[in-house]
């Protein structure tokens, strides 16, 4: 017994508080069962004894009470007490602020040794904080631990997907829908950066993870088909969610100041699983899921499409607009012979996910190990897309001597991602006429997306593209100019191939030397390698933009290496029993290098070899390579002090030097201070509230952090190469590559946090509230410069932004009986963002282009929040009456039925002063709630998240709803279209038509006269509540398990994303965002899927 205790203590000192807690649990259980040590004695009236803690410290001021009487005594400074007993069956109750209530039956014992365990509550949960760990109760800053329940086996291609709605103040946006391995945006407490890096820093087992600069780049010629590097996978998708032990999120500057120049967007700390002392444990987890798209868009079917196109054609004729089409698109006699296709279906499938995971872990007093492997294969709901991951992880800890511990960790991951090439395939499918197939009768891809494909198809032999099927009533010349990209050329086996294979190695080795009981020194060497290969091939049958050559292959290679050296000293000591000090001092240096190479060629005679033999292409592109890197040197410290676990003070500071800035601005200091007061540890409070209030804590903190998320070399004037031609031969030219800004400096975020934590009834009810104010100064932005400089942008520190918010969370166990338990959790956060100042050559505001060929969609102005839509107010359409009274200078060139904008300043012109703020993509509040119902061995959990009060600019709708009389459109747009009233229009229908004329006119085929200007017409409410998952767990009863010598078996079924409550008309209210300023724009990318999963988990 004694030896065993010694072993545990030995482990505890070296390892962490986690083991301490484990130890406390273990011993207190033991003691509660055994109750008393000591010799049997005859009946006495008085009993004396000593009260000690689990670790052997004598406990003073413990209340000793005889149960059901008023007799009370206290322990003295040696932990001794003495009390009279009414009878031998009396029960003594020991209570204290910091220790669990302990009952002892005296019986015939004379002298008692009472051991009290320290109170273990949610407040004793250990949080991984920067460069160390701390008990939740000891934390003075805003830091949250996310429960990893249901993370393993949840089929997540990327653990970020799991974070949404789990913690207040953390807003997760799956911007690319359910695309396997697609990008996920995580924002903590609003945006504190304009366009550079709004994402938190991810730290995996103490090593900050770098987001690779260039995932691999494709050929510039292929961009419109492939997208620039869009096939790249998210490096966080290389982490196996099953390996994650804990996730801590540091939110305020006081918590993240220890990460200095990278802390302003918050920090997400991931700790991976490690071995525990005990017998070897084997865990096998298997699950499989089926996913289907959640929603489709209702577009026109055959008859409506024909009506629409013929109306457009009539309008065109009426307006006397000439052009390429002499024919009426559809004759009444042909309609019956036309087919009616559903192209959305062709681009969707039921996708399967398989997740196999095995891990082995164990340990003894000398060493501990954790070993795991994963095979994860997720298909996307769009054909050809998917993600495959092979992951291997090894964590090993060995005590080389009683003082020296070696810790190693190695993760090797191979991820192969088949990406969706561009975001336009969805729009392409929706716009494709229902009367025109995607595939020709001979199996080739159809090139004609509209009415030009018709009955009595003729074959036009294009010299470049071969057979083109078309409606023979139209001239072949009008057909030959059609170059629409068939959606199958993006998302089918006949289409573009876009494969990103990445290999990631995360490795670290650390040595910890325990100098004495209080002081330890630790050296860490971390290495992160992320190498990726992006392979693209565009088959011969697909038209390349601006080209007649067929077949394009491109290879983009990138190598990203990060080295981390770190040496730290850690001092933990308790002085005079009540003064607890924990200090850490760290010096660290990081070096990051990113290299990229691209080679591509075009003009392939066959699709047989594709990107595996780019030399088969007849025209090679100029090969390109790039280099970029930066270095960061830092020293930092943190000291946490508390007096008797009541009053806490914590200070930290980091001195960072970054190579990205020049001399005067190279170094920055980022300090923080935090205080807290655990009121429930006050005796007077405890005496008054007793057991009712289990936790009551105030905290306040202040900190300063930075953001250095700009490209390296931004402060240097440099030349780069271009290629031109002289006399028909390629020649190299050197040109200025950027407008350098030597004055660049860090973005600085100062934040203050006030927090309150409450726990009632042994933490059956817990409540937390935090209010914060963040002010970010010197925001970096690629500010537009006058084009007369020969450049379009320059990086500059131009703005100040503030974020204010409130975060609340409430967790309750509503019902708790032997067999039944019901618990719920709810969190909500409010954030208010405001631009305080905007300077620089941009003038009073910055207009943000969101890159869709639209007029600038956003405007940033001081006094307003960022991400505000800015444009015209639409007031219906021009009718045949109103257009006659329109000033000639207002909306020049618009025709009857065209969208009508409000002339807000009444000057008869449509100008910038008629544009107003139209809403914002930033939600007013976000959050999540969950419930867990346990009945015997069944557990039913569900989780919802929500976002309220944000608007969406439905660019996708604008795109597919463009009434050009050619493309297919949304049914809703068709139903509300403008209908011209002609002289032969049935008079009975005129009123009905007038009443319905509110969207836009049916335009003329081949033209697109819808105003491209941004207006409120396409802005919708984007609020939603989404059921993220519902999981039913069944754990086999112990009786069964023991028979087979197992530890546990769990079966589960899970449904993810099964429903979403929203008024938003698009596919997914979680829309794309592109950077800090442009948000809430639906570009219509990958569809969101709902999935059903079944799996099991066995522990041996």
């Amino acid at each position: 017994m004694k030896k065993q205790t010694h072993d545990f203590q030995y482990a505890e000192r070296k390892i962490s508080f986690k083991y301490l807690i484990f130890l406390f649990f273990f011993i207190s259980c033991l003691l509660l069962n055994t109750l008393v040590f000591g010799q049997e004695r005859p009946l006495v009236n008085k009993v004396t004894g000593v009260v000690k803690s689990v670790t052997g410290i004598v406990l003073e001021d413990i209340t000793v009470k005889v149960k059901n009487t008023s007799k009370v005594a206290k322990t003295n400074n040696k932990g001794e007490f003495s009390i009279d007993l009414p009878n031998q069956n009396a029960v003594l109750v020991f209570t204290s602020v910091n220790y669990d209530e302990t009952e002892v039956i005296v019986k015939d014992k004379k002298i008692l040794l009472v051991v009290m365990a320290e109170k273990v509550s949610q407040q004793d949960e250990v949080i991984v904080v920067g460069y160390g760990k701390a008990k939740k109760s000891d934390i003075t800053t805003a830091a949250t631990v996310i429960s990893t329940k249901n993370l393993d086996g949840g089929g997540y291609s990327n653990f970020q997907q799991f974070l949404g709605g789990k913690a207040p103040g953390v807003v997760v946006n799956e911007s690319s829908g359910s695309e396997p391995g697609g990008g996920v945006s995580v924002e903590i407490r609003g945006t504190s950066s304009l366009s550079f890096n709004t994402q938190p820093l991810y730290v995996i087992d103490g090593v900050p993870l770098e987001t690779p600069d260039n995932f691999g780049v494709s050929s510039p010629n292929a961009n419109s088909l492939i997208g620039n590097g869009s096939g790249a996978s998210n490096p966080l998708a290389a982490i196996n969610p099953n390996d994650i032990e804990s996730i801590s999120i540091l939110k305020d500057a006081a918590a993240t100041a220890i990460y200095g120049s990278r802390g302003s967007n918050g920090v997400v700390l991931i700790t991976t699983k490690s071995g525990k002392v005990g017998k070897a444990k084997i865990n096998i987890s298997v699950n499989t899921a089926l996913a289907k798209p959640l929603k489709t868009i209702n577009v026109l079917q055959k008859n409506d499409y024909i009506t629409y196109v013929n109306e457009a054609w009539r309008f065109r004729t009426f307006m006397g607009i000439g052009g390429i089409l002499p024919q009426k698109p559809f004759l009444d006699t042909e309609i019956d012979s036309l087919s009616d296709y559903d192209h959305q279906k062709a681009l969707q499938r039921t996708a399967q996910t398989t997740d196999l995971n095995i891990s082995v872990s164990g340990g003894n007093a000398v060493s501990k190990y954790y070993l795991s492997g994963q095979y994860f294969n997720q298909q996307g709901v769009v054909p050809t897309t998917g993600l495959k991951r092979y992951n291997f992880k090894f964590n090993y800890e060995v005590n080389l001597s009683t003082k020296l511990t070696l810790n190693t960790s190695l993760t090797i991951t191979n991820v192969q991602r088949n990406g969706s090439p561009t975001s336009s395939f969805q729009a392409a499918a929706l716009k494709w006429a229902p009367t025109s197939p995607l595939e020709n009768p001979d199996g080739s891809l159809n090139r004609i997306s509209n009415y030009l494909y018709g009955p009595g198809s003729s074959i036009y032999n294009d010299p470049t593209f071969g057979s083109i099927y078309y409606n023979s009533r139209f001239p072949a010349t009008s057909v030959s100019a059609v170059s629409t990209n068939n959606p199958l050329s993006y998302a089918s086996s006949k289409g573009v191939r876009n494969i990103n294979t990445s290999n990631q190695i995360l490795g670290s080795i650390s040595l910890n030397y325990q100098l004495n009981k209080a002081l330890s020194v630790n050296g860490l060497l971390g290495i992160t390698m992320y190498n990726s290969l992006l392979e693209n091939y565009i088959p011969i049958n697909i038209i390349l933009p601006f080209s007649t050559a067929a077949g394009l292959a491109s290879l983009g290679n990138s190598q990203n290496t990060k080295l981390l050296y770190q040496i730290s000293g850690n001092y933990i000591k308790t002085f005079a029993k009540k003064h607890n000090l924990n200090a850490v001092v760290v010096a660290t240096a990081e070096k990051y290098v990113s290299k990229g190479q691209v080679a591509s060629s075009v003009g392939f005679p066959t699709d047989a070899t594709g990107y595996n033999a780019i030399q088969a292409g007849t025209i090679p592109d100029v090969p390109r390579s790039s280099y970029s890197g930066y270095q960061l040197v830092s020293s930092l410290f943190r000291a946490s002090y508390n007096y008797n676990y009541k009053y806490y003070l914590s200070v930290s500071g980091r001195y960072d030097g970054s190579s990205k800035f020049q001399n005067n601005n190279r170094f920055g200091f980022f300090p923080s201070v935090g205080v807290s007061w655990r009121v429930n540890k006050e005796k007077w409070f405890f005496d008054k509230t007793g057991r009712t209030v289990s936790d009551f804590k105030f905290k306040a903190s202040w900190g300063l952090v930075g953001n250095q998320g700009i490209d390296p070399y931004s402060t240097l004037s440099t030349f780069n190469t271009v290629s031109t031609a002289l006399g028909g031969v390629a020649a190299v030219g050197y040109v200025p590559s950027r407008l350098a800004n030597p004055t660049l400096q860090w973005e600085k975020t100062e934040s203050t946090n006030l927090g309150l934590e409450w726990g009632f009834l042994k933490d059956r009810i817990t409540f937390t509230a935090d209010i914060y104010r963040k002010k970010t100064n010197d925001l970096l932005y690629n500010v537009a410069v006058p084009l007369t400089s020969g450049f379009t942008t320059m990086t500059a520190n131009i703005a100040n932004i503030s974020n204010e918010g409130l975060e609340l969370s409430l967790n309750t166990i509503n019902v708790k009986t032997k067999n039944f338990k019901w618990a719920t959790g709810f969190n909500i956060s409010f954030n208010k963002n405001k631009v305080e100042k905007l300077t620089g050559s941009a003038g009073d505001y910055v207009d943000v282009d969101q890159g869709s060929g639209l007029q600038t969609l956003f405007r940033v102005t001081p006094g307003q929040p960022i991400g505000q839509f800015f444009g015209y107010k639409s007031i219906g359409v021009w009718t045949n009456e109103t257009i006659l009274t329109k000033p000639a200078t207002f909306q020049q060139g618009v025709l009857e039925g065209g969208r009508r904008f409000a002339d807000l300043n009444k000057d008869g012109k449509l100008s910038d002063s008629d544009r107003v703020y139209l809403g914002t993509g930033i939600p007013k509040y976000t959050g999540g709630f969950n419930t867990a119902i346990t009945y015997k061995n069944f557990e039913l959990t569900s989780f919802f998240n929500f976002s309220m009060g944000n608007q969406i600019f439905n660019y996708f709708d604008m795109n597919i709803g463009s009434m050009n009389g050619t493309n297919n459109i949304r049914k809703a747009a068709f139903d509300a279209r403008y209908q011209k009233i002609y002289s032969d229009t049935d008079p009975k229908l005129i009123e009905a038509i007038r009443a319905n004329n509110n969207v836009t006119r049916v335009a003329t085929p081949g033209t697109n006269q819808d105003p491209r200007d941004v207006c409120d017409f396409f802005i919708e409410d984007g609020s939603f509540i989404r059921c993220r998952d519902i999981t039913l767990n069944y754990t086999l009863p112990d009786s069964f398990i023991k028979r087979y010598k197992l530890q546990s078996i769990r079966f589960y079924i899970q449904a993810q994303n099964i429903f979403t409550i929203t008024n938003y008309s698009g596919i997914n209210p979680e829309v794309n965002t592109s950077g800090g300023l442009a948000r809430g724009v639906d570009n219509g990318t990958y569809p969101i899927g709902k999935s059903f999963r079944a799996g099991f988990n066995i522990n041996f």
Partner: protein
């Protein structure tokens, strides 16, 4: 004791990390620092190549300059899959946010900044003086060419003559006369210091600006100054002299009128095309990234960005050989720039001619007409008839004239036919001061609508373009916007 040693070692390690200044120096290995570039011959030539690469964007991937200049006139209308942006140019109802207008502006100033970089940073102490002068002359030529475009399109524009840096990005507008003076200055330097002429196949220099290009361009600048809106008639004689200088020395420069109009645009004739006086060369077989190609075929022909207007279909006399070159048989597409031998990605073998020899002749004729007097008018008529009958065909009748106005009108029709779809018409109409009236008539005719009230919105402010909205917002020194926008 032992502990102390470790503490000391630990502190030293920390300090050494912090003091490691060299560790934080940036080394942009893939880029060249501008402070120590342009030190030797190949570096300064690479600088000049960089200027040229930007200049070529006029016919490169963004191809706006050429189709804009055709779309906006009465020769071309918007075809193909029409988008509003092109229609706005076609119908003259663009505003300052127009993307094509922004691109035109951007491209010009990008060339100018690159040229300014070369001119400012070339270290003349380390490079052969002749090479140094030539590279500077080349850069000044490109700068002049782009300022000439800018001043014609926008009027008073910022005259930026220094390499852009952090503290000089907010220039003010300079009166157009001062811009013209700088253009003349640059071209005068260029015509002395550029090489006289390069062979078409010279793999080191073919396609670089030459003396003859500088002289012809200078003649055009003088002629333009003499026309609207400057009306500086004192430049007429200068124009005549400069253009005549090219004509009299045509043998020296190896330029002359091509006997067959169609040959000018034939890829097979390119190396011996004597009209090639200032051109962007189309190439094949080069990697796409080198932009050694023109994308004229794709923008003008394959995608029908610009198609022939109603008027031009009936413009040519019967037997005029130029009609079949300028448009296809169905009169539905432009016919130039389609003689593309290799059909491969982004390859386009067609050259684009900025100044042809016949342009020099015709401009000379124009100066003579404007100078007036029977001798000049007769000489002008002879030139016009020469070009007309050489290129249009010998079956065409000789033109005659009644008076100066009559000859001027006839000249203008001939010029239109000769240079159709070569990016000239827009500037011609502006120089002649008839852009607005012509466009009103054209749109009314094209769309079969009465000019009034349908095209009443087209007023004089459309004579120049709006400054790009983005520059008006980012640079307060550019305000106010051109009137009317």
């Amino acid at each position: 004791m032992k502990n102390k040693n470790i503490l000391v070692a630990f502190s030293v390690a920390m300090l050494s990390l912090c003091s490691c200044k060299k560790f934080l120096e940036e080394d942009p290995k893939g880029l060249v620092a501008s402070t120590n570039f342009f030190q030797n011959e190949s570096e300064i030539i690479a600088g000049a190549n960089g200027v040229m690469q930007a200049a070529r964007l006029e016919v490169g991937p963004n191809i706006p300059a050429i189709f804009f200049a055709e779309l906006i006139t009465d020769d071309g209308i918007s075809g193909g899959t029409v988008v509003g942006e092109r229609l706005e140019v076609d119908n003259l109802n663009f505003i300052s946010t127009h993307a094509i207008i922004r691109t035109l502006w951007t491209n010009c100033y990008q060339v100018i900044n690159r040229a300014n970089n070369v001119i400012s940073f070339v270290d003349s102490s380390k490079v052969k003086p002749a090479t140094c002068r030539r590279v500077i002359a080349e850069s000044r030529f490109w700068r002049a060419y782009n300022y000439f475009k800018l001043v014609q399109l926008w009027g008073d524009v910022p005259l930026v003559l220094e390499a852009s840096s952090y503290d000089n990005v907010l220039p003010s507008r300079t009166p157009s006369t001062a811009v013209y003076n700088q253009i003349i200055d640059d071209l005068k330097y260029a015509e002395i210091n550029l090489d006289p002429v390069y062979s078409y196949t010279d793999t080191k220099n073919g396609g670089r600006p030459t003396q003859v290009a500088a002289k012809a361009l200078l003649g055009k600048v003088y002629l333009t100054m003499a026309g609207k809106p400057l009306n500086d008639v004192s430049k007429l004689q200068l124009a005549a002299d400069k253009l005549n200088e090219v004509i009299t020395n045509k043998a020296t420069y190896g330029v002359d009128l091509m006997p067959i109009y169609a040959d000018i645009f034939k890829v097979s004739v390119k190396p011996t095309n004597k009209e090639n006086l200032f051109y962007f060369r189309g190439t094949t077989g080069l990697p796409p990234a080198s932009q050694g190609y023109t994308r004229l075929k794709f923008s003008l022909v394959t995608f029908n960005f610009v198609i022939p207007s109603k008027e031009v279909k009936t413009l040519f006399e019967v037997g005029d050989l130029r009609k079949a070159v300028n448009m296809n048989a169905a009169q539905s597409q432009i016919g130039k720039y389609i003689d593309n031998v290799t059909v491969a990605t982004t390859d386009n073998a067609d050259d684009f001619h900025i100044i042809r020899y016949s342009d020099v002749l015709m401009m000379y004729a124009e100066t003579l007409i404007e100078l007036g007097g029977t001798t000049n008018l007769n000489a002008a008529l002879a030139i016009i008839n020469n070009v007309r009958k050489t290129h249009g065909g010998s079956t065409l009748a000789d033109l005659t004239y009644i008076n100066q106005n009559d000859l001027r009108d006839k000249y203008r029709v001939e010029r239109r036919k000769e240079f159709m779809y070569e990016g000239q018409r827009y500037y011609d109409l502006k120089r002649w001061g008839i852009f607005i009236t012509t466009m009103k008539a054209h749109l009314a005719f094209q769309n079969s609508l009465p000019a009034s009230p349908n095209y009443d919105y087209i007023d004089d402010h459309y004579n120049i373009l709006p400054l790009p909205y983005s520059d008006i917002t980012t640079n307060p020194n550019l305000r106010p916007q051109n009137p009317g926008y």
